[in-house]
Subunit: 140 residues, 2 copies
DNA sequence: ATGTCAAATGCAAATGATTTGCAATCAAAA
DNA sequence: TTTTGATTGCAAATCATTTGCATTTGACAT
């Protein structure tokens, strides 16, 4: 269970002012472990009447300081998740279901790639997502 | 050097009618090995006065049959490349420069991941791109 | 506690990539 | 050459996201 106190700390540490909107958005992320988009947060916060523009701005600023990570699900909008532990996703191309996985030997890959590259010597991030059909959609 | 004859064959094989526009678009791809977007093709074909809507439609239909592959460079528009040999890219987050690389142990990864997954057993495709700073941009 | 001020938010409008509807044109099969 | 469905162009629509600007508010100093 995540306490409000923890969320406030996240904001403080990153130099943000503590506002109800930011706390609410952080809370949505701490509830839903899967990557979510602005629209999803907007709907979750219907009662709080948070403007979607504010959500977009918050997502961007949270990503800038590293609170959030942008996840590329090859969907029509931008998805984010808390950047806690390093992991990737499998996405069902039929129903959109997302499952996380930890396996990722990126350091090894990066080493090999940089050894063969004459244009790059610094890698700062990477994308790695698998796409397939979930067991339910295979049957269809 | 790619001959017109080869390009026509690609269209024929995939059940497309042979049109000047499609040949021109294919030719752009055969010249530029790096992933390109609709706007780039549009500019390259200024003389031919190809409508950008047609380019979008062509890109989509080419991707559907597998002539083209959508590459996720995390830029603002959709980039495509000929789906010939399997490879990935390093993208400079500063200047946007793109370099390809072949190293990719995806089968091994897929096996491990599916072994641990209870929701998926079929992977159809994957994304894997590295992001960093090219040697020129590191200096800046 | 209160005033101050930059930061945060809301609202309306703009942006920019991509899509859609529809009419005109064209490639390819008969 | 005729026919017909596919292809293209043009204008307008869409949809996620961004921007400008006025208003509000959190945090710090008084």
């Amino acid at each position: 269970m995540v306490h409000n106190h923890d969320l406030e700390n996240i904001l403080k540490i990153n130099g943000f002012k503590i506002t109800p909107t930011r706390l609410a958005i952080l809370k949505v992320f701490s509830h839903d472990c899967e990557p979510i988009n602005a629209e999803f947060i907007f709907k979750k916060l219907k009662k709080e009447k948070v403007n979607i523009v504010t959500i977009y701005r918050t997502l961007t600023s949270f990503e800038n300081v590293g609170i959030l990570k942008h996840v590329d699900l090859q969907k029509d909008s931008a998805y984010y998740e808390l950047s806690g532990h390093h992991h990737h996703h499998i996405i069902c191309t039929d129903c959109g279901m997302v499952e996380g996985f930890e396996v990722c030997d990126i350091d090894n890959l990066t080493d090999k790639v940089l050894k063969n590259s004459n244009k790059f010597n610094i890698i700062t991030k990477h994308s790695l997502e698998l796409f397939g059909l979930c067991k339910k959609c295979v049957i269809k």
